[in-house]
Amino acid sequence: MSELKIDTSLVAELLAGFIRDEVRKVGFERVVVGLSGGVDSAVSAFLATRALGKENVVAVMMPYKSSVPESLADAKLAAEQLGLSYRVVEITPMVDAYFSLFPDADILRRGNMMARQRMTVLFDHSAMLKALVLGTSNKTELLLGYGTLYGDMACSLNPIGDLYKTQVWQLAEYLEVPERIRKKPPTADLWAGQTDEGELGFTYAEVDRLLFYMVDKRYTSEELEAVGFTKDFVARVRQRIQSTQFKRRLPLIAKVSQRTVDRDFRYSRDWGR
């Protein structure tokens, strides 16, 4: 675990600076963040509050009828500790209206629809409140592709996307995120008893250590086995990263001209800022 230990005070300062700089220079003062009751969105909200002040952070809770009640309670706990103004927008009527047309839809389709419904609520609030949507996906999820494209992965800026889950937990402790949120098992909360680690088939502690050596340190498969990872685990995670690469890139654009968006038309997003 020591490989993944971080100096939390440095990282908090760096990420608060990132939020302040990137929000203000595009002419905004405020962010809006979807609070799920989990640790990732809590950490994003805590960082944003540090960066911009509580009056500039709006929390939105978006429960579905099958969400466990503790999720909403924990999201409120986080918002209240920070003194944020928050609002609850139930997504049940929107999601159910759609699936009344497709009653046989499976849980995957329903989960994705919920994530994308929440995205539309957040981006509507972005326009309503003149606030940028703050992302809440961590590096572990991004690398494993464990998120819904254009759903929970959609945002304007993401302060925690380069932190592994186990590093988010360290930061959460430093930021004094309520213990109840930090200690509960991570879950997408689509059905009762669902947990990330149950669904993925490994723990965050295990996979974060592997990802650190594989991605950050660029160890080969042989080198990874030599430091104690099983061949099967390495292969499984490598395959998962590769097969979800599309989620980490813009959609493919068929090149026909001399200068194509995102290929040889290359400008930073902060162009002129």
Binding site: K5, D7, E13, L14, F18, E22
Partner: protein, 286 residues
Amino acid sequence: MDAKRTIAVAQIAPALGAVERNLDLWLQRIEEAVRAGAQTIVFPELGLTGYFLRDMVPDVALSVQAKLLQPLLEKSGEIEIIGGFVEEAADGQCYNAAMCLRAGRVEFVHRKVYLPTYGMFDEQRYFAAGDRLRAFPYGGAKAAILLCEDTWHLSSGYVVCCDGALILFVLASSPARGISEAATPASTCYWELLNQIYSSFFGVYVVFANRVGCEDGVSFWGGSEVVEPGGRVVAKAGYFEPQLLLAEVNAQVLRRERRTTPLLRDEKLWLVLRELARVHNERAKD
């Protein structure tokens, strides 16, 4: 060298690709530095343009005759100005460059020799590489300018120090990266070590000017510093925040250190040249 000189380091957060806005920022810092009695002010690498320019490079490039530089040239009668910009050469090539303006003229231009093109860096795609490492006249003696990655090639510092530089102006746009249990990012640790090494083993002042601010999620860590010969940090700016850092460079300190530890005096250039020529020839044969 002049007995004492006050140097100001402008640790700024330039806007990306907004040259005129950055020029205003430079002029403000220059005013402050003049008021503080500085003889020289130093701005970071690409301090006039921002760093991740990509396809904007030709749009922000300036020839050394550009009208836009006129307000700076005027100010250079009051204070010497050293800082990074994109230089458009006569043949249209663009360089990641640094200028020294003095008494109304462009005294010296250094073009970055080592353009990092690996990991998060892509400079060689956009810039032509410089092909000179030279000291230039400064304060009755000589100084040299190195741009960011130049400094990571220890040979660059070796050459300009052998060429007589007593002060190394190191201009950087160094991103904060590599978090761990350490209280500073890995990139910070490397730079602070480098500045120590140059000042300790070449017996020079290192004036390190790094920028702050964010570009596309990349944070620049600042921490500008002036390190005296022998490695003592005489002035240090904070991390991540803009600041005007002031420091005095003192000819006596330089002289004393060079007498105590006369490493450069004892350099055997003929030996280095002979052995490098041999290595070069042997490599060419492979």
